[in-house]
């Protein structure tokens, strides 16, 4: 479903993502782990066709993200780090708008929007303005937006950041539920989340993949936490030395543009 092949992204001199390769099968929930500034968001933005890769490529549901980006956009659902909401629209209007631009045929609009809203528990706030929602609801509207056109692959960038425990549990259940029929790529730096929902783990640090494998296999002899710390420890000799600070600069600069 997702095949990433030597994907790289450079911002000028600095390589945010360096020759990243990994894959995900249909029906897998992949946890994409890494410390802040490791290149998670850049990788995800390339997979969602928002950013073009500097080199390498990836295939999503068989479509190349460079050459067949339009088809890729049809089969993915994507939730960026900050839910892309239009504050002045109500949840209902917003979801209708997203469904329209995602290419849902007009006959199925109502059905798709209602289904997505129901799955993300949005019925109570259906007529409220996106701008007035709490963080948890905003995140759920973001999720609903990502699944409204029933995509095969769903890419979520830190879907639970900044939520309260109750909301985190809701979102996790939703993700588990989605994973039954779709391929999910879930970027996060919250480890328990991965152990709870993911079947596969990919760990990225300073732009390169340091570990990839089934959750059950790689956590056989140690906890995920130990593994993660091992993988991302600063003592390890890694080429890109001043990577961490400029990585954050690079990402946020891009986010603002």
């Amino acid at each position: 479903m997702i095949e990433v092949n030597k994907l790289s992204k450079a911002y000028g001199e600095y390589k945010a993502v360096n020759q990243v390769s990994f894959s995900a099968e249909r029906g897998e929930i992949v946890g994409f782990l890494g410390p802040n500034g490791a290149g998670k968001t850049s990788t995800i933005r390339m997979l969602s066709t928002f950013l073009p890769p500097t080199s390498g490529t990836a295939k999503i549901a068989g479509f190349d993200i460079k050459k067949e980006s339009d088809q890729v956009r049809r089969v993915i659902g994507y939730l960026p780090e900050n839910p892309p909401l239009y504050e002045e629209m109500s949840v209902e209007e917003y979801l209708y708008f997203v469904a329209r631009i995602k290419g849902v045929p007009s006959k199925k609009l109502k059905e798709s929007v209602e289904k997505a809203a129901e799955r993300c528990f949005l019925k109570d706030v259906f007529r409220r303005l996106c701008g007035q929602l709490s963080k948890g609801y905003r995140q759920r509207v973001g999720l609903a937006q990502a699944i409204v056109h029933d995509p095969e692959v769903v890419i979520l960038d830190e879907p639970t950041s900044g939520l309260d425990p109750r909301q985190i549990i809701d979102i996790r259940n939703l993700i588990k539920d989605l994973g039954k029929e779709k391929t999910l790529l879930l970027s996060t730096h919250i480890l328990p989340e991965v152990t709870m929902v993911c079947s596969k783990v990919v760990i990225i640090n300073r732009g390169t993949i340091v570990r990839e494998g089934k959750l059950a296999e790689i956590t056989r002899d140690r906890t995920l936490e130990q593994l993660f710390l091992e993988c991302v420890s600063y003592d390890k000799p890694i080429e890109n030395d001043d990577a961490i600070p400029s990585a954050e600069g690079g990402e946020s600069r891009h986010g603002a543009s």
Binding site: R45, S48, T49, F50, P52, D70, R73, R74, I76, Y78, P80, N82, P83, P84, L85, Y86, E87, E88, M89, E93, F97, V98, R100, I101, K102, G103, Q145, G255, A256, S257
Partner: protein, 258 residues
């Protein structure tokens, strides 16, 4: 086309749920109404003076020339300041809010986005323009002699084309900027320059002078105000609008592949 309509609809929607649309439409109509009032006063005065001096040569002041034409002419100045306020947010705000990421990761082309944005602003502007037509319509009933309707309609078309031309420039500038205020100020500067671009044409002379003269929307719209629609001016406005849209598309595509 479906995508263009969806994006344009959203754009119009967000104009009309915020006070922006109401304030700008009302503001525009109030200013136009005030100009209209002043011009009618002048016209009356001049007419009375003209009639009191039977030995004066030339035609009597007529409503078309003295009121309608001048009102439209002045409203174009107002557009120079108003249109940037409407267009400054269209792309810059999306970039800031992160919703641009949603648009670019959806199966819509950059052209769909630009066209949708433009049509959204265009709809609002057309509503305003048609609104101002209510004033000249009054003259049809109360004017003596009543003005001719054809030049009035042509003038309306001229002003609308001018507004659309400014809108397409505004969308292009907004696409370049990631800050709304920067986008607004820059578009205002560009539009002001375009408004006065023909000023030095005569002093410069030659081909350069001609080019400056032909580039001006004011020069192009002048004949229209008199009721003459030339192919040249239609071509001018269509090309200006297409150029602005083309520029926005290129800018956004370049940004995407950076």
């Amino acid at each position: 086309m479906k995508n263009v309509i969806a994006i344009a609809r959203r754009e119009i929607f967000s104009f009309f749920v915020s006070p922006l649309a109401y304030f700008s439409i009302t503001g525009f109509l109030v200013v136009a109404g005030y100009f209209f009032f002043v011009l009618v006063l002048y016209f009356n005065e001049s007419l009375v003076r003209f009639r009191s001096m039977p030995f004066m040569q030339g035609d009597a002041p007529n409503l078309n020339e003295w009121v309608v034409e001048r009102m439209y002419g002045t409203m174009i100045v107002v557009l120079v300041f108003l249109v940037p306020l409407l267009t400054m947010r269209v792309v810059a705000e999306e970039k800031k809010r992160g919703t641009f990421e949603l648009l670019l990761t959806s199966p819509v082309s950059v052209f769909d986005i630009v066209m949708g944005k433009f049509l959204g602003v265009a709809t609002l502007l057309i509503i305003m323009m048609v609104g101002t037509f209510s004033y000249p319509l009054l003259l049809l009933y109360y004017g003596n002699p009543a003005p001719e309707i054809l030049p009035m309609l042509c003038g309306l078309l001229g002003m609308t084309l001018c507004a659309l031309c400014f809108a397409s420039i505004g969308v292009a500038v907004s696409s370049c900027a990631s800050n709304q205020v920067v986008a607004g100020v820059s578009s205002m500067v560009v539009m002001l320059l375009l408004y006065v671009i023909h000023a030095p044409a005569q002093s410069i002379g030659g081909v350069a002078g001609d080019v400056l003269l032909k580039l001006s929307p004011i020069v192009q719209v002048k004949d229209m105000m008199k009721g003459v629609i030339t192919t040249e001016s239609l071509v001018y406005f269509v090309s200006m609008i297409s150029f602005g849209l083309f520029l926005s598309q290129r800018v956004l595509e370049a940004e995407r592949s950076r």
